[in-house]
């Protein structure tokens, strides 16, 4: 293989490493095991040493085209082949392709007699022959310590092992040596004395009946490495390591907004929904419709042709579908057309790590754009709060990297304040948007309210909105403000009735006033008519008077003109 030179920084020295091909392990070792040097893997029985080294060899062949030699001191090669076949590795095929040599070195004390000086040249020759025939780059010695139980002369053995490891270095192969965990030392026979370039400890612990495997890099000469204990898993694909914090929080972000799917809830967010790739927490006490809101979200995403995975830790898929159908959320057709997957399992089925890996695997295979976990709080039954938190950190990291919108629900205990309780705080700082649904109890009834606690990077409503669930789904009710704040339930109802009564009263009052005015107008008009008729009679009288007077004066003047004629 040609040495790779980093294009960004050609001057920078890169410690030569051999990638293991084991998921996550290359991340924490920052590239793999030291190239051309031996690495010690130690751990107690059953913690995965053989598997790890076998995977190292097989991945070397299949992914990096580096042939390998597996020298087993414990298991016959047939058993080995059978053991790893269940993990999907076909040793026979690789052997026939001349990429792999599996050699079982049987050291049986009862069959061996030591008589005088000897050395382990036989082993060297065997190994050397195997390496040379397939031009191996990788070698595993599993578990070289078996020699100690098979041979009496420990002084020779120690000297020879030292020589063996030096010889491996000279050969330029990347070697993996496994060793049993000792009481006071890393390995029972103190192999770490000889192999000191890179030492990795595997550990298998059972805490509260849930087993977790962990791995730690004790030392790694010439290279930086992750120093924490990292959980790892063995499943049907072999080992995968889950770095707790692989992310440096510099993932791409999206400004796309996805709708919440809940009628009315979008309006509570300034931009009308959640950001794509953000994490949403729906918390609330029992029976506050967290699952319903989650299903609404799922439905909305399915409608928008997104791919959705729904992890239900409380209900079976059938039950979930039935229940949601009862309130008008039809998810079934999306399950049928493949845009929605529902995975149900009991949280106690697996350890947390296996849950995480399951999630990881589904995400890798299905490539969803949205995932829903309902509820995350159930996972606390499997691990301590700290463990759950660390698992969620990793999960959220992973989702962020893949720009997957995630909605979690969380069950919390009822308390008096509107603030959520401590159980959620393990997650609260991790999520971007936090919506709480809660019961509002009072005057002999229970009402549901929804409000937004936070929404990173987006303005949001500060109101507690009451909502009801009917056979046609969730309905957010308009805010009803009473004299003592927002009203809900019966209070809202009675307030509404009051309002109606007041309205009626007002209408009646108005009607009455109108009628009164009409009556008054009639009176006024009658009065005007009376006055007018009175005025008219007076006027008539006056005109009669005037005409009488006029007549009289004319008669008088007629008499005057006739008088002088008589004179």
């Amino acid at each position: 293989m040609r040495n790779k030179i980093s294009p960004q920084n050609p001057e920078k020295f890169i410690f030569p490493k051999t990638p293991t091909g084991i998921e996550g392990l290359d991340e924490i070792t920052e590239g793999g095991f030291p190239k051309g040097r031996p690495t010690l893997i130690c751990g107690s029985a059953g913690c995965g040493k053989t598997l790890l080294s076998m995977q190292f060899i097989i991945k070397g062949i299949t992914e990096f085209n580096e042939p390998g030699v597996f020298m087993s001191f414990e298991e016959p090669s047939n058993d080995l082949a059978l053991n790893v076949k269940s993990l999907g590795f076909d040793l026979e095929k690789l052997k026939s392709e001349k990429k792999l040599v599996v050699d079982h070195v049987r050291v049986e004390r009862s069959e061996i007699e030591e008589a005088g000086e000897y050395d382990l040249d036989g082993l060297f020759i065997r190994l050397g022959h195997a390496i040379d025939t397939i031009k191996a780059k990788r070698v595993v010695l599993d578990t070289v310590e078996s020699l100690f139980s098979g041979l009496e002369n420990q002084a020779i053995l120690r000297a020879e092992l030292r020589r063996l490891f030096n010889w491996l270095k000279e050969k330029g192969v990347t070697a993996l040596i496994t060793g049993e965990r000792g009481e006071a030392t890393l390995t029972r026979q103190g192999l770490e004395e000889y192999v000191s370039d890179c030492v990795i400890i595997l550990d298998h612990r059972v805490i509260e009946q849930v087993s977790t495997r962990r791995m730690r890099i004790v030392k790694y000469r010439g290279s930086t490495h992750g120093t924490n204990e990292y959980p790892f898993l063995i499943d049907e694909n072999g080992i995968s390591v889950l770095p707790i914090t692989s992310l440096k929080l510099n993932n791409e972000v999206s400004s796309d907004v996805v709708s919440t799917g809940v009628p009315g809830l979008d309006a509570m967010f300034e931009k009308g929904g959640f950001y794509r790739g953000s994490n949403i927490l729906i918390s609330g006490t029992a029976g506050t419709a967290k699952t319903t809101i989650a299903s609404y979200f799922a439905l909305e995403q399915c409608r928008k042709k997104e791919r959705v995975v729904y992890f239900a830790f409380e209900e079976s898929p059938q039950q979930l579908l039935r229940n949601m159908k009862s309130i008008g959320i039809e998810l079934e057709k999306y399950v049928k057309n493949g845009s929605l997957q529902i995975h149900s399992s009991r949280p106690s089925l697996n350890g947390l790590e296996l849950h995480l890996l399951t999630l990881q695997k589904i995400i890798r295979e299905f490539k969803p754009t949205t995932i829903i976990i309902d509820p995350i709080s159930n996972l606390i039954t499997v691990g301590s709060e700290f463990e759950v938190r660390s698992m969620l950190v990793r999960l959220i990291d992973m989702l962020k990297v893949n720009n997957i919108t995630a909605l979690f629900t969380s069950l919390n205990k009822q308390n008096d304040t509107l603030r959520p309780d401590m159980a959620e705080e393990s997650v609260s700082s991790l999520v971007d948007t936090w919506v709480t649904v809660r019961d509002m109890e009072g005057i002999g009834e229970r009402n549901r309210g929804i409000f937004i606690i936070k929404s990173r990077g987006m303005g949001h409503s500060n109101q507690v909105r009451e909502f009801v669930i009917t056979s046609s789904g969730i309905k957010l009710l308009e805010v009803e403000v009473g004299p003592n704040g927002i009203l809900t339930g019966m209070a809202r109802h009675s307030n509404l009735i009051d309002k109606e009564v007041n309205q009626l009263k007002k209408e009646n009052e108005l009607g009455r006033k109108d009628r009164e005015i009409a009556r008054k107008r009639k009176v006024l008009e009658a009065n005007i008519a009376a006055l007018r008729s009175e005025f008219e009679s007076v006027e008539e009288e006056l005109s009669i008077l005037k005409s009488t007077e006029h007549l009289e004066s004319r008669i008088k003047s007629e008499k005057k003109t006739s008088k002088p004629a008589k004179k």
């Binding site: 050699d103 070195v105 049987r106 050291v107 069959e111 061996i112 007699e113 030591e114 008589a115 005088g116 000086e117 000897y118 050395d119 382990l120 040249d121 036989g122 082993l123 020759i125 065997r126 050397g128 022959h129 020699l147 041979l151």
Partner: protein, 96 residues
């Protein structure tokens, strides 16, 4: 029949002509002549020449003496300087 298939078939694995392998060869020849005269054969395998043969007899140390016949197969590792252990290992009752 007896001549073709000696009662004792021994194999000595060595890795080149080292002092240890020479010592081992001399020793086993001596013991065999002493205790198994006429009923043994010794095959010498140099692993530097035939490295592929190491796997078959589960050789990891040199020199190694393997008793192929009579069964069960026994291995004696070392330069065979300790006569008693070689004889015990080969299950030969020393003639006293």
């Amino acid at each position: 029949m007896k001549k073709q298939q000696p009662e004792w078939q021994l194999r000595l694995y060595i890795a080149g002509q080292t002092p240890k392998s020479t010592t081992a060869l001399n020793n086993i020849k001596k013991y065999a002549e002493e205790h198994l005269k006429g009923q043994y054969s010794i095959e010498i395998i140099d692993l530097l020449v035939n490295p592929q043969l190491a796997e078959g007899d589960q050789i990891f140390a040199v020199p190694t003496l393997v008793r192929k016949v009579p069964e069960p197969i026994r291995q004696i590792i070392g330069d065979l300087s300790n006569e008693e252990r070689v004889l015990v290992g080969l299950n030969i009752k020393p003639l006293k």
